[in-house]
Symmetry: C2
Subunit: 333 residues, 2 copies
């Protein structure tokens, strides 16, 4: 690649390197989301699956398996599994958040109804379990069923924790694992497990996925306050307006004096927000250096992700995954 060539994004490079495998994954997804009798299922699912998501999670599974020398057929099933779990959670999230847009298109709950989103989500969960059973590997089932439980527990936790000023960084981290990191780490770990590499390498893959997912989510939560709507598709302060307690505010609350606590209590816990509150919130984040501290956390998690992969043998896929960890936080500089 010459100096003049704009650098390809790491997930695009992954998609290129793994395009043959990914073709199989897409074919399997299309095959399994069909339903002979209930046409509503492929309608709803196609709307979401074909909407052009980055397919990052299945790419992580394929990359991990290939990087570990796997040459059987089942990384394709596991990659489709994680995409189905992801798609199911998106359908249910949009019902729970009463969202009307995702990836720039109207959500399924808006186009059809909440009923369809709930039930088609359930169908995709069930399909994902069918898929993960097929490789006949009990350890893989253990990992993926645990991830599914962590995801659901994190989502429920967020219902109560997001507006509770007692939510600390530990609880935040658990919510983040549920929202993002649990599926990332399961996606990478199962790649190593089916390739039957040694325990140390499997642990490294898990740690990479976990840290990458956390870095990714912290970066997202930070950009919500820093404002970079081109990168996030969100407006500055969406989380504040939706009364979602994320890391920047948790850090500011930990350092808050009495007046400041009263402000957060009114705006986040009670949801009584007035003109000028967002500006005041931003000033408080600034006063306590909360955005810088949050950025430092994201960078530290990205670093942890890269260090984990450092213990694996060098390969082109490994280097792209390391690049991906850089990319996730590059938008924070």
């Amino acid at each position: 690649m010459g100096l003049d060539t704009p650098k390809e994004k790491p997930h695009d490079r992954l998609a290129t390197l793994l395009s043959e495998d990914m073709g199989r994954v897409n074919a399997l997804i299309r095959e399994r989301m069909a339903s002979k009798h209930a046409p509503r299922i492929p309608e709803v699912t196609a709307h979401l699956v074909e909407a052009g998501g980055k397919r990052l999670r299945p790419l992580l599974t394929l990359a991990s398996a290939r990087m570990c020398g796997y040459d059987g057929p089942f990384h394709v099933h596991l990659a489709a599994t994680v995409e189905f779990i992801h798609t199911a959670t998106l359908l249910h999230d949009d019902v729970v958040d009463e969202s009307s847009q995702r990836r720039g298109r109207p959500t399924a709950n808006l186009l059809w109804d909440n009923k369809s989103s709930v039930l088609v989500g359930d169908y995709l969960f069930a399909r994902s379990f069918q898929l993960m059973v097929e490789p006949g590997n009990l350890r893989v089932l253990d990992i993926l069923s645990n991830a599914a439980a962590t995801i659901a527990e994190g989502e429920v936790l967020q219902l109560t924790a997001a507006q509770d000023l007692k939510t600390d960084e530990d609880i935040y981290l658990q919510v983040v694992r549920g929202k993002t990191a649990a599926l990332f780490s399961a996606a990478t770990e199962v790649g190593g497990v089916i390739a039957e590499v040694d325990e140390e390498q499997i642990k490294a893959l898990f740690d990479y996925g976990d840290a990458l997912g956390i870095a990714f989510q912290i970066a997202d939560d930070l950009l919500d306050y820093r404002g970079d709507s081109a990168a996030t598709g969100k407006n500055v302060g969406d989380d504040f307006r939706e009364r979602k307690l994320t890391l920047p505010v948790i850090k500011a609350i930990a350092a808050a004096d009495e007046d400041e606590r009263a402000f957060w209590k009114r705006t986040i816990e009670k949801g009584d927000q007035q003109d000028g509150d967002l500006e005041h919130a931003l000033a408080l984040l600034d006063r306590h250096g909360a955005l810088e501290a949050t950025r430092d956390d994201a960078l530290a998690w990205a670093e942890k992700a890269k260090t984990a992969l450092g213990s694996l043998p060098q390969s082109e896929l490994r280097d792209v995954l390391i690049e991906l960890a850089n990319f996730v936080v590059a938008r924070l500089y």
Copy 2:
């Protein structure tokens, strides 16, 4: 039992015969529905799980395993698995149907909110998958993950089929398998599989659960028009008012003349119902003998259930299961 003793209901007899196993199932359910971090989960789940359901599905699994001579520990996990799947579907059903009462108590979606019901349902699904992985039996996983997919597909199918006059008895049967019979047949089949009995016996257990579930659901749908609110907790014609196409109406539509079709089209497909419509619907069911024909179907399925069990060795549990098939349709005489 003397002639003067009122006869105990078969599911109560099952509960008595299996009380020790069932104690273990209940302890496991309580243990696994806990969540250290998200207290909303046990709140919602306890509301439903402790509400005094009959625990029929776990009893079917325990009975099947014991009847086949199983003496390991894992029938308890599988029984808890089917109860978790059942509870998860109830939570989601109440959101989808916008129900406000279940088993005589306010529903979780009313007491908390739809969000909690969706996400706690997801948590229970995930927990059920963790539980079903623990016995380490891939065939069991295959059966239960297929059942979960059939359930979800049937629910989605019902969304579109319930108000569509083209819905015929085949589609109805598929919806019924999704709503009821798929979990019954999986519950009985896995009992035989972990007991490692021969294929013929496993098939017999599957056939029993399938036919019992279908008989049970047809009887329910019939009683909705016959009116027996003591037995069903529903008022005569609830399904008609909610525009749910069930077997009696499907049979009446199949025999309908042009005027009658127009009536069904208006009341069920378009939902334009007026005073006197229910009475007219009942008259049409009567004219075409639809209630008798539906009852005959229920009785035939109950017979099929009993015949299936006939191929298994005689035992007290087997005889109670046969009695259960009689009981399910006894309320139709």
